[in-house]
Symmetry: C2
Subunit: 135 residues, 2 copies
């Protein structure tokens, strides 16, 4: 398995991280994502980390980089599915995910993205409270 697959659901790209991330796979993922956002005109990226057991500053930076990258294509990024143990570690170590938004699970993440897109494009979100999702 060489590359992390990027799935498309409607207007959103979904990346599910299941393998231990190394430098080259992170670079490949960023490259693939940039190409895919550009090709599809996606308005959001969801990164699922429910299979990730260890998050360090390296992975934290990756999220921030992907978020900045997506932003250049006018897309928002949400990280979903963080394990409780991972969240505790992040807080204990004082690590932050920068400006990256997080949500409990994929469905919540999609709702947030819908709200953000609606806010940015000036139309009401599906949940009627588009502003609520923005931190």
């Amino acid at each position: 398995m060489e590359r992390i697959p990027i799935l498309k659901i409607g207007d959103v790209l979904l990346v599910s991280i299941q393998v231990d991330l190394e430098d080259h796979s992170v670079l490949a993922l960023q490259e693939d994502l940039a190409e895919k956002i550009s090709a599809t005109g996606a308005s959001g990226v969801v990164i699922d980390i429910s299979a990730v057991e260890i998050v360090d500053s390296f992975i934290g930076r990756m999220f921030a980089t992907i978020a900045s990258l997506s932003r250049l294509f006018d897309a928002d990024t949400v990280v979903v599915g963080m394990r409780p143990a991972v969240a505790i570690t992040l807080v204990e170590l004082g690590l932050t995910l920068g400006d990256v938004r997080t949500a409990l699970n994929l469905e919540r993440g999609m709702e947030i993205l819908e709200g953000l897109t609606a806010t940015r494009r000036g139309t009401p979100g599906a949940n009627g409270v588009p502003g609520l999702a923005r931190r």
Copy 2:
């Protein structure tokens, strides 16, 4: 990474296979899926194999088993994202995926599931031609 994560999108469970499958991981996946379908009442399962480079009879049987399992919970299964090289290998080796439905990508797979669910429950599908998706 011990287990393959199962994501939920609306009424559908999504499994993205990114690691080389061994006996124990396949068994764990089947167990997890059965539990998750039972817990969520999902109407469909999509298995994304866009990262899978080699499919043999073992993996073929796994799809068939998952499909039978899902059926017991009144859920349909669609395999999506097969690589062209994998499809060619399957045909050349004379391997079949049994009764398992396939679709080009996640979005098509979701459409098929919508159609199937609508057909089974006697309401028109979102695409208006629910019968079309059934093989």
